[in-house]
């Protein structure tokens, strides 16, 4: 046997699979590094309602408010009893008021908003490298996103990797709906331009590029999107959710599901993608979001998927008082354990029924309950982070039965619990620090 074959055979002597504890340690260090890295980014939120960490890129309050202003003009007719909120925005009084002043749903009783095509705003997009025919296609597709500047520029050139013909679509917004709409439009652009012979093989955004797969074909079908929107509303109603659906003329739709207390703590169904009809996305591009009673967005799917999205607890913001339907006792049993047993298991009983020592902690839990007890999507896969502690909570919250738990797929919730317990002196020893 020659030397090269012997060396290859000896690989098994040197290279073996990593052990679980090595993987856990390096995974933990990596995630911690990412957390510290992001700590330098500006905090996100409107400063009045909550802080929300979106999944895609840094969001600033300015971006959120800009998005609010853009979408405020995107709604057609005046709503009567309740104004559907434009999908993709954080809840804010300013946004709601602005939307109400412009606005509204065509069929408010069904919370279905139909966005009009807007050729005028499409004409504001900077387009370079396109023939007159291609320009017409590009403007037609972008007009289908509705009013407001969703896309900043579109470029066709030969400067992709290895000289590939590429389409560059630069997003004008960084909120989840803006990014989702940009990607919907970009896919449609590639499909329609290539159908007409453009031979685009590389698609690039501000955040990076990707190869264009041959399966892309035009999907814009407003009639189909309208039917899908109505089906989404019916499905949400059947599952016990209040829903708002926005249909875009490009043939895409956004569904926002709202949860109310006390159902929030044990909703009948959490297969949110199914409820919203999100799995027909191959034919109807779709954005799905789920909101807590105060508007905190706990799940989004469209341009990527995010659950356990809300970041740190509310902090100094007072939070929403418990509703009268939750006037019962709050007694919680919390179990905290580390994945590899490197820290002792902790069991804590938090009794908020008397005027005992748990008062501050009880207040904090009530204040942050939407983040601390968020329901979790049941029909979206998660590989989970390795090395994250797990936490289980049962008991009652305002008399409502609680039985939930968080772990590697919901590391944000775990961290919130650890933080709140630590801040109130309930974690000592190895649990007292992040080490």
């Amino acid at each position: 046997m020659d030397l090269e074959h012997r060396l290859a055979r000896a690989a098994s002597t040197v290279v073996h699979e990593p052990s679980a504890d090595v993987t856990a340690r390096v995974s933990g260090a990596t995630v911690e590094a990412a957390r510290r890295q992001s700590g330098r980014a500006p905090a996100v939120g409107d400063g009045r309602v909550r802080r929300t960490r979106w999944r895609n890129g840094a969001r600033t309050a300015a971006a959120v408010l800009t998005g609010a202003a853009v979408l405020a003009g995107a709604v057609l007719l005046a709503a009567s009893h309740r104004q559907p909120e434009p999908a993709g925005l954080t809840t804010s009084a300013a946004a709601s008021n602005a939307a109400a002043s412009n606005a509204a749903a065509s069929t408010p009783e069904e919370a279905l908003t139909i966005v009009p095509a807007d050729p005028a705003d499409a004409a504001r997009v900077a387009v370079t490298g396109a023939s007159p025919e291609q320009l017409a296609t590009i403007l037609d597709v972008i007009a289908g996103l509705g009013p407001g500047l969703i896309i900043e520029s579109v470029t066709l050139d030969e400067n992709g990797p290895q000289g590939q013909r590429q389409l560059i679509v630069i997003e004008a917004r960084s909120d989840p709906v803006g990014l989702w709409l940009t990607h919907v439009a970009a896919d449609e652009l590639v499909a329609r331009l290539n159908r007409d012979g453009a031979a685009i093989t590389w698609l690039a955004y501000a955040e990076g590029g990707t190869t264009v797969e041959g399966r892309l074909s035009p999907t814009a079908d407003p009639a189909q999107a309208m039917a899908a929107g109505r089906a989404s509303l019916d499905s949400a109603k059947a599952a016990g959710y209040r829903a708002e659906v926005t249909v875009y003329p490009i043939g895409a739709l956004a569904t926002v599901l709202h949860l109310e207390e006390p159902d929030y703590f044990a909703p009948r169904r959490t297969d949110w993608m199914h409820i919203a009809g999100g799995f027909d996305a191959l034919t109807t591009p779709r954005f799905v979001a789920v909101e807590a009673p105060d508007g905190t967005r706990i799940f989004t799917s469209g341009h990527g998927t995010c659950y356990d999205c809300s970041s740190a607890h509310v902090g100094p913001t007072p939070g929403t008082p418990l509703p009268t339907t939750m006037a019962g006792p709050t007694v919680l049993n919390v179990r905290l354990s580390s994945p590899l047993g490197e820290r002792p298991d902790v069991r804590i009983e938090i009794d908020c029924t008397g005027n005992g020592a748990n008062g501050v902690l009880c207040d904090a839990i009530i204040r942050d309950r939407y983040a601390l007890f968020q329901p979790l999507v049941s029909d979206t896969a998660c590989s989970g982070l390795i090395g994250v502690p797990s936490i289980g909570i049962d008991g009652t919250l305002g008399g409502v039965p609680i039985d939930t738990g968080f772990g590697g797929c919901t590391s944000g919730a775990v961290q919130r619990w650890v933080d709140i317990l630590r801040a109130n002196g309930h974690l000592t020893g190895a649990w007292a620090t992040d080490g």
Binding site: A10, V22, G57, R59, E207, T305, S383, S411
Partner: protein
């Protein structure tokens, strides 16, 4: 949880999305580990190098060109960290002498590995990356930031060294 590309995950990691960080880690951890272990030939050093590499990569993520593939970029960092770890270890422990071992057909895998580990570090690295991390010569060249031809000739010289070492006892 996501079918997003690496290029789509990177900005989310930068924005503090721990799921994205976890997903990026999950995708690339096996390759990171194999590369670090191949170069260092030590579980302890590989862990040190791999962890160091991930932390450096996260710190440098803002400078990552998202139009380029992520894996080769990360591999360059891993190889550098692994070489650093191996260099420190060699300075501390390993003797550069006693090269003579048995002929290829006689030696055990452990003895062959030991011979590789006694090569000069830059030659050891190309052998380890080629035969133990299963990289192609162009991938090795990219990881070590060398021209293809240099990587190829360095590998040839490393194999010649090994053959010479193995023939000493005959």
């Amino acid at each position: 949880v996501t079918a997003d590309t690496d290029a789509q995950l990177v900005p989310r990691v930068l924005a503090g999305d721990e799921f994205a960080a976890g997903e990026l880690f999950r995708r690339h951890w096996p390759g990171t580990w194999r590369t670090a272990l191949a170069v260092t030939a030590s579980t302890a050093l590989a862990e040190e190098a791999a962890q160091d590499a991930w932390i450096r990569a996260i710190a440098a993520l803002a400078r990552f060109d998202a139009t380029r593939p992520f894996a080769p970029w990360l591999r360059r960092i891993v190889v550098n960290c692994a070489l650093d770890a191996a260099r420190r270890d060699r300075a501390n422990h390993r003797s550069p002498v006693s090269l003579a071992i048995a002929a290829p057909d006689d030696v055990s895998d452990d003895e062959l590995v030991d011979a590789v580990l006694r090569l000069p570090l830059e030659r050891r690295a190309v052998v380890a990356l080629r035969f133990w991390a299963d990289l192609s010569v162009p991938e090795i060249a990219e990881a070590l930031e060398l021209p293809d031809g240099t990587a190829r000739s360095r590998l040839a010289r490393a194999l010649a060294d090994l053959r010479a070492m193995l023939e000493v006892r005959h």
